[in-house]
């Protein structure tokens, strides 16, 4: 028996180690593959915004900007919607309704991104151009965010399509976490005279905070790396503009667009360096996320199940 334990330990250890190995290999390959632009542009790669394959000038700034802005817009929309829906499903809805809806949510999470892209092109883009963007311009047009010509495609549209894509993740994970909050927590709150909503908002949700944050970061990761759906609605122009109506481009999208036809080593390697940049962004945001969880759980209430 002892021997069996040892073997199982070894095998599972190897599996776990392979994850680290793959990550390191990935970074190594990206690093190796981007020697030329790192030497030629150095830190300017992050600061300049010209992307010109003909004259061999490559700057990543517009793509970094587009990636962060679209992911940010997506979270601003998806987080309240997703968490609200999860609270309803976990705390307020009858079990049967909750389970049925959960089935649909899981289904949505499994839809390939190109389908969301088509949804974006055929439904969201015309709606944006005809109704939503003109309406925003008329009401909130004094903000630089909502100025400029209306194309339908652009940063805002990409953010909205991303929001639609990541909401199922937030709902699904947050609902599971909320459901796993121990029953006695709720009962204790109720017995102290709080209403159903008070027990949900002041006890259950804080208890599940760690898991809910986890769902948000899962959504963020998907939004940062999403390629196909973004390409189809972002407008694919590497510009930096304060307006969310403006077309933009994201890191994942430009790599997918230009990799196959990239001629010339510097061009190809600059695209690989963009991959490295995306990896870095994901890495940094994940680190910040961990930090946030640690900080909030220290000053907050019980986080035992997170």
């Amino acid at each position: 028996m002892r021997e069996g334990d040892e073997i199982a330990r070894l095998i599972t250890f190897l599996f776990a180690a392979s994850v680290v190995l793959v990550t390191l290999l990935l970074v190594f390959e990206l690093w190796q593959g981007s020697v030329l632009p790192r030497h030629k542009f150095g830190f300017n790669f992050f600061r300049t915004s010209v992307w010109d394959p003909i004259f061999d000038q490559f700057g990543a700034l517009p793509f970094i900007y587009g990636t962060l802005v679209t992911a940010g817009v997506a979270l601003v929309i998806a987080v309240p919607l997703g968490i609200g829906a999860a609270i309803f499903l976990a705390e307020l809805a009858p079990a049967r309704v909750s389970d049925t809806l959960e089935f649909f949510i899981d289904l949505l999470a499994a839809v390939p991104s190109v389908i969301y892209g088509l949804l974006g092109v055929f439904i969201v883009v015309p709606l944006m151009r005809e109704y939503i963007q003109p309406a925003l311009k008329n009401t909130l047009g004094f903000l630089p965010l909502f100025q400029g010509p209306v194309y339908g495609v652009g940063l805002l549209t990409a953010g909205i399509v991303l929001a639609i894509m990541v909401i199922p993740y937030i709902i699904s994970v947050s609902r599971e976490v909320l459901l796993s909050v121990p029953r006695d927590q709720r009962e204790a709150a109720l017995s102290l005279g709080s209403t159903h909503w008070e027990s949900t908002w002041k006890v259950v949700v804080p208890f599940a905070r760690g898991g809910i944050m986890g769902s948000i970061f899962l959504a963020l990761a998907r939004a940062l790396g999403e390629t196909m759906a973004v390409t189809m609605v972002i407008g694919n122009a590497p510009v930096i503009s304060a307006s969310l109506f403006s077309p933009g481009d994201s890191i994942a999208s430009v790599i997918a667009n230009q990799f196959t036809e990239a001629t010339g080593d510097l061009y190809l390697q600059s695209l690989i360096e963009l991959g490295l940049v995306l990896f870095l962004i994901t890495f940094i945001l994940n680190g910040l996320a961990r930090l946030l969880i640690v900080v909030t759980s220290q000053k907050g209430s019980a986080m035992s199940n997170a």
């Binding site: 003909i54 122009a237 667009n257 196959t260 036809e261 001629t263």
Partner: protein, 342 residues
């Protein structure tokens, strides 16, 4: 256990025999634009010559050039000819040149969506360059209006749509603009992907078409084949002889014939803005990239056989698939060049 192992062994041995008995496999990779006709050609050629099987991956021109230079495929294919640096890199690595063989022709056409305008518009080279540089920003600009007398062009802002991904169509389009506009040549240049001064990007011909259809006052460019097959209206372009020509296969072949007189030995020639009557000016060859030296004689003979067939019987498939076929002048010169494959 023994029996299972025995069955496995027999299966593997059998598969091995099948494998060994297989046809001579030749691998190619590259341009996506000619993929429909290439796959037709390779299938037909295999039918006629059972011993040879050509496997082609449409991974894009850039990847095609890279793979043939790395030596991971037997031949490549590209929509834009290799530049001098790339030729040198190939020669340095393999000790022999890489050869370009034009196969068929393609063209890019301007397509647009202006509310209230249903007639086919005429575009001068200056108008196209001005629009894509962002200098002509209204549809009723004199540069457009003067070539379209009697058409009621609106005073709306022009929205430029281009391809978001690297593509041979973009190469043809920017090659043409570089020839007709020195500003374009100096500021933007030609390539499968460029730094566009203005506009939005759509993915693929279908992405560009979709954006144009949805966006009032938009203009973009698509492949001629795509426009013909999907019945997308497109405009005429003024050629070097001063005529407004609406692209068709004859006009594209005429461009190749006109350019063949001045074509260099290695076939690396741009035929945009070619001189002569009836020429559609935004046309281009697409090329096979074949190594000048094969270490494997059977492979070399197989590829030579295929190129010979492609230049004769193969050309007959071109027009049914909406590609313009090579003019006779070019075919004759290519037949002579086959002997360079060694």
């Amino acid at each position: 256990m023994k029996r299972i192992a025995g069955i496995l062994l027999i299966t593997i041995a059998f598969a091995g025999v099948l494998w060994a008995d297989n046809a001579l496999l030749i691998n190619g990779a590259g341009a996506t634009f000619p993929y429909p006709i290439y796959s037709k050609w390779f299938a037909e050629y295999h039918k006629a010559n059972g011993a040879i099987e050509i496997n082609y991956l449409s991974v894009g021109s850039g990847a095609g050039i890279k793979q043939v230079t790395d030596g991971t495929v037997d031949f490549g294919a590209t929509d834009g000819p290799m530049n001098d640096d790339q030729l040198k890199a190939y020669r340095d690595k393999h000790g022999a040149p890489i050869l370009h063989f034009p196969t068929v022709l393609g063209a890019a056409v301007p397509t647009y969506n202006i509310p209230g305008v249903t007639t086919s518009l005429n575009f001068t080279p200056d108008a196209l360059a001005g629009i894509f540089l962002g200098r002509i920003s209204k549809w009723n600009d004199p540069a457009i209006a003067n070539a379209n007398k009697g058409v009621n062009l609106p005073a709306n802002d022009i929205i430029v749509i281009h391809r978001s991904e690297g593509s041979g169509t973009t190469y043809i389009w920017t090659d043409y603009l570089s020839k007709v506009s020195t500003d374009w040549k100096d500021k933007v240049g030609k390539g499968t992907a460029v730094n566009w001064p203005v506009g939005l990007g759509g993915k693929g011909n279908e992405g560009v078409t979709g954006l144009i259809k949805q966006t009032p006052n938009a203009i973009g460019y698509v492949e001629l084949i795509y426009a013909v097959q999907n019945k997308i209206p497109y405009g005429a372009v003024r050629n070097a002889a001063g005529e407004f020509v609406r692209a068709d296969l004859a006009g594209v072949s005429a461009a190749a014939a006109a350019a063949s007189k001045t074509m260099p030995e290695d076939f690396r020639v741009s035929i945009t803005n070619a001189p002569g009557k009836g020429v559609y000016p935004i046309s281009s060859f697409t090329w096979l990239l074949i190594p000048g030296k094969f270490s494997d004689a059977t492979k070399r003979d197989a590829i030579k056989g295929f190129v010979t067939w492609m230049l004769a019987d193969g050309q007959n498939y071109a027009e049914t698939l909406s590609y313009a076929k090579l003019p006779k002048e070019v075919v004759d010169r290519e037949l002579k060049a086959i002997s360079k494959i060694q």
